[in-house]
């Protein structure tokens, strides 16, 4: 780009320089030519004037030579000007300059002739004027016939002189020689007449003396080739100029064509620019459109959606997802899938109530969005349900195949719209309860995560500041109806000493890798508490604790430390957890038996029970899951399950504990079934100290 600009600038500069050069060249040529031609013309005119003055000088009696001299001086000056003209000093004009020089030479010659003419002219004029006067004078004194004859001779001579002067013909001169001779021979007795004759004769002689040089001068003046040379100079110079002007014309043509070319090029560039602009605009529009639209369905895309929601006031957004779209692709091919997407887009556009300002977007592979900006009377869910119903009732015909699709929708009115709707949608997929889910904080994992993070922070804080404490819930022997032992339950206190109400604190602790620390704290604190109490006590551990080397080590450290009371301890192992390392568990169970520690399976009967591995092991207690117990007094099915467990336990010599004993009825039923121990709010709430 810049290179082009440089080159172009360079060309412009070059052309300008060339043009300026050419301009001065042309100006020089034209002005010089004009000047020289003007001088030549002036010289020509002056010479003509000189010639005419010469004839005036000959013709007019009282002529002033000043005029003639003035023109001659002027002519001298002009010739000088011409021969010194700097334009003619150029070598290519040497020939013309030479011609000028030869003209000057001729002119100097002519000037000499003119001076000779002037010298001859005065006496010629004088004698030619004086001779008739003399004749007239004689006529007045004519006395006799001889005088008359003499008069005749005088007159004849005078007329011949006139003729010869006016004809400029020397022949007449010879004619009158005879007459002059006669005149010379004339003798008068009268002295006056004798003197007259002498005067007349000397005047005639004077005339003829000067007449020769007069004629010569005039002939020389007439014959000298000054004018020919001058016109040759003019024609040669003009010819030379024409040649030079051809160069000028050529240059002019070049410049004109360059100029026109330049204009043409600029026009072309302008047109192209215009066209490019149009194309660019078109491209921009296309690009803008394609940025904002999905190429397959031609629906506005996610970018559009993001742009649109910036200006929206009362958003209501439905995110529609085709259920198991992949299987359509798998079954009918991707082209069919594309067709479904295309057709669905078209269909959605046709069914979305425009009066609600709805706009349809394609937001993902099989995700469509419908956005409204309006508060509506109808329930959002109802609208979404209607749309879904219509979609599901729509028959997609692809290559004569009728394809039906089912869709799920997430609805939201909360920003960020897409995220919240997606959460709702995911919730719907997860729960499979409803095809339409309205977003709420409850279903928002994100909210949970935030909550969890908060908890983790609190938990860490509590661990650091020793606010993790065991609470003890009593367990009653159903036969003696005495509290025989306590289950240590973990409680986390906030900074002001209130118990954090967290159900799933252990799950969070496990995720945050804090679990083993909690186990350790519970172990230590419970042991410390019960070493001086005469009660059995149970602590919850998980398979993870057994697998975790550090925790396991700590467990045995504590057991060693409190060897004397370790026989009172029961480890409640969560039955619901999958035991991966079976060998590890057996090993652990064996070792703790050495300390007299008992093992209880917690939440027994919840659903993941793996009876088989328990049968041969040293299990001391089943803690029957609360869900089976809490309605046992009226739920016969639950009772049946519990009776089976109890029956099994008795046969394998395992004691049973009922959790969630929260009423007298339950307690009665539990006793009736023959469960050995009871735990629950009816028996006693967990307390800080026994």
């Amino acid at each position: 780009m810049f290179k082009k600009v440089y080159i172009f600038s360079l060309i412009v500069l070059l052309v300008t320089v060339m043009f300026l050069y050419f301009d001065s060249y042309t100006k020089n040529i034209i002005t010089s030519h004009e000047r020289i031609l003007r001088i030549i013309k002036t010289i020509e005119g002056l010479e003509t004037k000189v010639d005419s003055e010469i004839f005036r000088a000959g013709l007019i009696l009282y002529y002033s030579y000043d005029e003639l001299n003035r023109y001659m001086d002027e002519l001298d000056k002009q010739i000088d000007l011409l021969s010194k003209d700097k334009y003619l000093q150029k070598p290519e004009y040497a020939d013309i300059l030479n011609m000028v020089k030869s003209y000057q030479k001729l002119w100097i010659e002519k000037k000499e002739h003119i001076e000779n003419f002037k010298t001859a002219n005065s006496p010629i004029k004088n004698t030619a004027m004086y001779l008739p006067l003399l004749t007239l004078k004689f006529i007045q004194s004519v006395q006799n016939i001889s005088d008359l004859r003499y008069t005749y001779l005088l007159t004849k001579i005078v007329s011949s002189i006139y003729l010869s002067r006016n004809s400029m013909d020397l022949d007449f001169v010879f004619d009158i020689q005879r007459d002059i001779k006669k005149l010379k021979e004339y003798r008068f007795n009268d002295k006056d007449k004798e003197t007259f004759n002498q005067t007349f004769l000397s005047n005639v002689n004077t005339f003829f003396y000067f007449f020769h040089s007069y004629i010569d001068a005039i002939n020389n003046i007439l014959n000298i080739k000054t004018k020919e040379v001058l016109s040759k100079i003019e024609s040669t110079f003009s010819k030379r100029f024409r040649k030079e002007s051809r160069t000028i014309s050529m240059f002019t043509a070049v410049f004109t064509s360059m100029f026109l070319g330049g204009i043409g090029y600029i026009l072309y560039l302008l047109l192209r620019l215009e066209k490019d602009n149009k194309n660019l605009q078109k491209l921009r529009n296309t690009l803008e459109y394609s940025i904002r639209h999905d190429s397959l369905t031609d629906l506005p895309n996610r970018y559009s959606f993001e742009e649109d929601i910036k200006h929206i006031k009362n958003p209501f957004f439905i995110l529609v997802n085709i259920d198991d779209f992949r299987s359509i692709n798998d079954l009918y091919g991707t082209r069919a899938g594309d067709y479904i997407l295309w057709e669905l887009a078209r269909f959605l556009k046709s069914i979305v109530p425009e009066e609600l300002g709805g706009r349809v977007y394609r937001l993902g592979a099989d995700d469509f969005g419908i956005l409204f900006d309006m508060k509506i009377e109808m329930s959002y869910e109802e609208i979404a349900k209607q749309i879904i119903e219509r979609i599901e009732n729509h028959k997609f015909i692809y290559e004569n195949n009728e394809i039906s699709i089912s869709v799920t929708a997430g609805i939201t009115t909360r920003h960020p719209l897409l995220e919240t709707a997606d959460i709702a949608l995911k919730h719907s997929h997860k729960t499979k309860r409803s095809k339409v889910v309205v977003y709420s904080y409850e279903i928002d994992n994100k909210k949970q995560i935030e909550e969890n993070l908060k908890l983790i922070r609190a938990l860490k804080d509590a661990i650091q500041k020793d606010r993790v404490v065991p609470y003890y819930q009593p367990i009653m022997n159903n036969q003696t109806e005495k509290i025989e032992k306590y289950e240590a339950l973990i409680r986390v206190l906030d900074s002001s000493g209130n118990i954090l109400n967290v159900d799933n604190i252990l799950i969070i602790a496990k995720e945050a890798k804090l679990y083993s620390q909690l186990t350790k704290i519970m172990l230590y604190k419970t042991f410390m508490y019960f070493r001086n109490k005469n009660y059995d006590f149970s602590i919850n551990i998980s398979i993870e604790d057994i697998v975790n080397e550090s925790t396991k080590e700590y467990i045995f450290l504590i057991l060693d430390e409190f060897k004397d009371i370790s026989y009172r301890l029961t480890f409640e192992i969560l039955e619901s957890e999958e035991v991966k390392d079976y060998e590890e568990f057996i090993e652990f169970a064996k070792r703790i038996k050495e300390y007299g520690v008992k093992i209880a399976i917690d939440d027994f009967g919840r659903g993941y029970s793996n009876f088989s591995y328990l049968i041969n092991r040293d299990i001391d207690f089943f803690k029957i899951d609360g869900s089976l117990i809490k309605n046992i007094h009226k739920d016969t099915n639950a009772r049946l399950v519990v009776e089976t467990i109890v029956s099994f336990a008795k046969k394998t010599n395992i004691k049973t504990v009922a959790e969630f004993v929260n009423s007298k009825e339950v307690f009665e039923a539990v006793k009736e079934i023959g469960i050995d121990y009871s735990q629950g709010y009816y028996i006693g709430v967990p307390v800080e100290s026994v």
């Binding site: 002033s64 001299n69 001086d73 010298t119 005065s122």
Partner: protein, 307 residues
């Protein structure tokens, strides 16, 4: 009858003389006053001669009609001798010197200075002299803007002064301008001047000085080899005794007359002219009238000489 016809013919010929053969001198002439004043100083400066004994004015004395009242110039020798032409109105002469060997004042002015038989300087000597004068140095610096005065500068200044030497407002010029009437004698003298043919040579603004003519047209005049005639230049036999026609302006105060200064009075000069040039013997009356006319040609002294 034939004679009458001839007379008519002659009269017809005369009728061609409608042009003004003589024009009055201009009242003013264009020249550079500063240069002319400087030229005036130089004109009278004897430093311009080898022996500090001659100035231009030695031969062209304004008090003697721009010439001198002697036959020849003080240094005239056998090689070159002539009556001194007046410097007055010389600017209007078509050539300078008796034989016109200088084409203008510029050429003329340098010749006597360098002429060994006249002022006899060299260019170098002149320049040495003039450049050693503080006064001239300053004047030339002021006027010509030069630090070194060249020969050409000196001549240029003198020429500028000579241009100013015109003598306008003669009675005849006033007559030509229609301001006054001539006396009957003067008037008749002018008529004779024309009728006799004097005017064929003595015409123009300077009443002469615009052509070369032979002295002794009708009746020959003796030729002497040391006078500067055209023959000295062309070598042509017919140019013997051919001289530039002298101007008749101020003729009454520029005696003696002719190239050889042989005539002291106007009357004799007129008489000789008529005899040699026209082949006429004039009557005393005619001579008186013509002389009366010639006396009207004396003009005012040039302004530049007045202070």
């Amino acid at each position: 009858m034939i004679y009458k016809g001839l007379v008519i013919l002659i009269l017809c010929c005369s009728y061609f003389s409608i042009a003004d053969p003589i024009k009055p001198l201009p009242l003013n002439i264009e020249y550079n006053r500063e240069k002319a004043q400087l030229g005036k100083k130089l004109f009278f400066d004897k430093m311009l001669s080898r022996d500090y004994d001659l100035s231009c004015a030695s031969c062209h004395d304004p008090k003697q009609g721009g010439t001198i009242y002697t036959k020849f110039s003080p240094r005239a020798s056998e090689d070159l001798m002539s009556n001194v032409p007046t410097v007055f109105n010389a600017v209007f002469n078509f050539r300078q010197f008796w034989n016109g060997r200088a084409k203008d004042l510029y050429e003329q002015a340098s010749i006597p200075i360098l002429n060994p038989s006249e002022m006899s300087l060299t260019k170098e000597e002149l320049e040495r002299r003039i450049n050693s004068s503080k006064e001239y140095k300053k004047l030339f610096k002021d006027i010509y803007g030069v630090d070194y005065i060249s020969f050409e500068h000196v001549v240029d200044a003198i020429v500028e002064f000579e241009k100013a030497l015109i003598t306008p407002n003669s009675r005849f010029d006033k007559y030509l301008r229609g301001e006054i009437q001539l006396t009957p004698s003067e008037q008749e003298g002018f008529t004779l001047f024309k009728q006799l043919g004097c005017i064929t040579c003595h015409n123009g603004v300077n009443i002469g000085g615009n052509s070369f003519q032979k002295f002794g047209v009708v009746n020959p005049y003796k030729w002497e080899p040391y006078f500067p005639d055209r023959y000295k230049i062309t070598g042509r036999e017919e140019d013997k005794n051919v001289y530039k026609v002298p101007s008749l302006r101020n003729v009454a105060i520029t005696y003696p007359y002719f190239h050889d200064g042989s005539v002291q009075t106007l009357e004799e000069a007129v008489k000789k002219m008529a005899y040699h040039q026209l082949g006429i013997e004039l009557s005393d009356e005619e001579i008186t009238k013509i002389v009366d006319f010639l006396k009207t040609l004396t003009g005012d002294m040039p302004d530049i000489l007045k202070d």
